[in-house]
Symmetry: D2
Subunit: 287 residues, 4 copies
């Protein structure tokens, strides 16, 4: 059998540690339901090579630690909780060479009845999922990322796609008035962890994304391509944080239904959607 192999990377951990943290202030209740993934890389790989488990922290223990930290510290913000988890593993276990934590929030919102907030009732409103990540190598900085995903946006005009490259395989017509629709993913970096108001920044960035996508409420803003809209989103996000890691606008095409052979003129009133694409842009700033 083969002897001389080089282990490049070994990582293990617990995915989807899902739980709800309830916080009470008198009779008023606050909830954070989260899904946490925590992965580790150990300083050696004896468990892979020799079946020696003596340094392995069981994934069951990883789960227990995450729950204990939630119980003790609460979840003031997703980001602070991810930082707490990384710090705990780095401080407690000298065999940990690298730790990474992903935290995603279940979008519970407080219910309101006739404008009055309910003290203990909530509704799930998934209009953009908040997540964050924190990671640290031993002797390296603790780096924090945050993001939004599954944010579905649509504009029904002020979008086109023209002047593209053409050859014998081109069948797409030029369009200057089409529907633009997509599912947005955006992830940014806070760099080395400092004292940010994570909740405030996240909410501002969500507003930026929506504003850059849709333009002024009375007229919108023309988008010449998905790519340019992704760029506009990123430029606006960059005014709030130092680095955008990745923006994906997973677009959903709407094709105007051809009704000529049904004897009708369809003035872009009836469209059918098809889900297809994935334009991306990774980028960072040089301020």
């Amino acid at each position: 059998l083969i002897k001389d192999v080089e282990v490049l990377n070994c990582e293990y951990g617990k995915n989807t540690i899902k739980f709800l943290r309830l916080h009470r202030e008198g009779k008023k209740h606050f909830v954070k339901e989260v899904e946490v993934c925590t992965h580790l890389r150990l300083t050696s790989a004896h468990e892979y090579l020799d079946g020696n488990n003596s340094l392995v922290i069981p994934t069951d223990t990883i789960k227990n630690i995450v729950l204990v930290l939630a119980k003790k510290n609460g979840i003031p913000t997703l980001e602070q909780f991810a930082i707490d988890i990384c710090k705990h593993f780095m401080t407690t276990f000298c065999q940990v060479a690298y730790v990474k934590t992903y935290v995603q929030e279940v979008p519970w919102q407080r219910l309101h009845e006739n404008g009055v907030p309910h003290i203990h009732s909530f509704i799930c409103v998934p209009d953009g999922i908040r997540f964050c990540e924190a990671e640290q190598c031993r002797n390296g900085p603790l780096v924090v990322f945050a993001g939004i995903k599954d944010l579905k946006l649509m504009k029904t005009t002020q979008s086109g796609f023209e002047g593209f490259f053409k050859n014998e395989h081109t069948t797409l017509p030029e369009r200057h008035d089409r529907i633009l629709c997509g599912e947005l993913f955006c992830k940014w970096s806070y760099g080395e962890c400092k004292d940010f108001d994570f909740d405030c920044i996240w909410n501002k960035i969500r507003e930026c994304i929506i504003e850059a996508f849709s333009g002024p409420p009375d007229c919108g803003e023309y988008s010449p391509s998905y790519q340019k809209t992704v760029n506009s989103i990123q430029m606006l996000v960059l005014s709030k944080v130092s680095q955008v890691i990745e923006t994906v606008l997973n677009n959903t095409f709407y094709n105007v239904v051809d009704m000529k052979n049904l004897g009708l003129t369809n003035d872009k009133e009836v469209s059918k959607c098809s889900k297809h694409n994935l334009p991306r842009l990774f980028r960072n700033t040089q301020p």
Copy 2:
């Protein structure tokens, strides 16, 4: 081979005719994206028995008709659109013995920037999906149903489950303060179709459901079981329409994590969810 078989029911149709209907009033745009299923039963079953397709309306034609109706009539309300479809098939095709249409809405909401509504931009907010059904047998009344599904609600107190039947297989403890959480499905009947304000009633029923689930905003209302909460929801819905067809509260259990062997007292602050159950109640009124 077998000769004497009785055909009890044969039905066919087109599922998931998904499209977007854009309506413009000047520069202001309105969208309804829907998924439509239309099923038919023909007066004979020759296509099954003899392979004679002469009376079969192809599912492709069904799709075309749905799109043509959307183009011509628009989608004033989901219910009116479902009625239009049923009436078209009954009126046009004498070989149709039964028609049923299901319409479900993609929950697009108009975007707002600083409180100002955007003229052509929308966001998807799936906090309860609206649907409706209409069906008609030849020579019978056209009956209309509507409903809401995928409405996820949670209350973190004012819920228990006690005094239940016990025997040697019982391991569930009695609880007077637990989390109540579930995904709600509710479907009601408008009876034979008259002039209802379908949008207004649907919104009022959604409010009723939330109110019955959560109770007054300052104190809530104690729920002694899922069943009783389902009943409360139905009683309140029944004050708006004549018949509730089905209410399902697909509950999600939250179990308080036992932290004793981790040296901690968990005062119901950390819970883990598990999705399991399906209590139901079908009912109608005798006014």
Copy 3:
């Protein structure tokens, strides 16, 4: 508030009780992993109407009973296990008016190495999922159903659709050589429970379905429509059992890609699929 309501049907229960039952014969292991749903209807509805839980068998107890029966009796066949569950609830609880159990199998198959069966290793092969149902009303017979679902079949020729009804909304061309592809669901009844060899019949019916769908291996058999193929499947299944409850061939259309404007003649070599339809037939026999 409304007082006079009639409760038409109330049912509750536990869905997705998922577990694995291991049976050992010496060193040889046998596994059955199943998902069980058990629903009950009680003789009264006090828990809904008055919040009186005294007759309610908690869903947690239902789960315990299913696990205990699996431990004590094993799972000789899915059907026998469903029968055991129904009998237990009817016999043990006088407040149960109706019980229904659904059992679905995770399709583990024994691994083979060079033709030798492995004594304790298995692979998951989901090429058609086996399920069954049993139900009983108090003082009524125990009725057993079985079925197959998620069985995906395709034939690349010997299928057409011609001679169908046409009008101004018809755009579908006639075709005498198309791909026929679908996901099959078929459910049949064993009537009142007697001593059937459930495993043997299920396997024979699976063969019948495949045979009726595909025809002789050297030439196939022409299908003039989905409906006729569904009928052929049912006629063959009816030669094994007394009643076919429902057959659904959830078809997947393959449309030949038009390559004319790309300068190519596509002799049905390249097709794109779209998932759409649901032709059905409910039927039973009159022997």
Copy 4:
């Protein structure tokens, strides 16, 4: 607004170009149904920065090219088809700086009736999905990868987890006889593309994986951890190819149900599964 930004990576493309390629030899039919993703990076990013689309190859054109190549060349192997696509884009478009193609197969298998292969009928058997990737930078080598995913394996004994690291957060008991079950993902590299018999190697590697997971058919082989089993799989795969990129055994835990308070001794006969973990190992060889 911000001016000085550095574009680190921009990539776009078409996901899920799904189609079926039919090949006929006389009356015998052969099918390959595939899902293709093709992504490009252009030499400039004007479409992002300036909205200048003149070099952009529309995703619609990408789709057309993939279909045309399938029509002209067929799909002799997934890997050869991915190579063809990459070569086409590099050769045809001087503005393409990088191309990457992913191809995944729908697992159709020829039907057999009483051992006789059917000439044109197929069944979908998803017991491990085959995929491949090819990528090329301008002036760089064309590199080919292949892999298997969604391969679900289980062994009901000859697996344990003992001697792991323990502290105050450890609650997991040591076990020397547990169920080992997981969903396997394995991806390897063929290095720069040469004349491999891709089909033959893929099948051999699938066999290796199953053999390494389960051990000899008459006795199995003891696994002291998921990690060691992943390592065994990789060592055996490395005997066939020069580099294993990534192996993930996404494990499914089975916990023996505690039946003591139900008055029963559960000799590991009844277990409940929970899906959780993701141990990984990236590695390559030094021959």
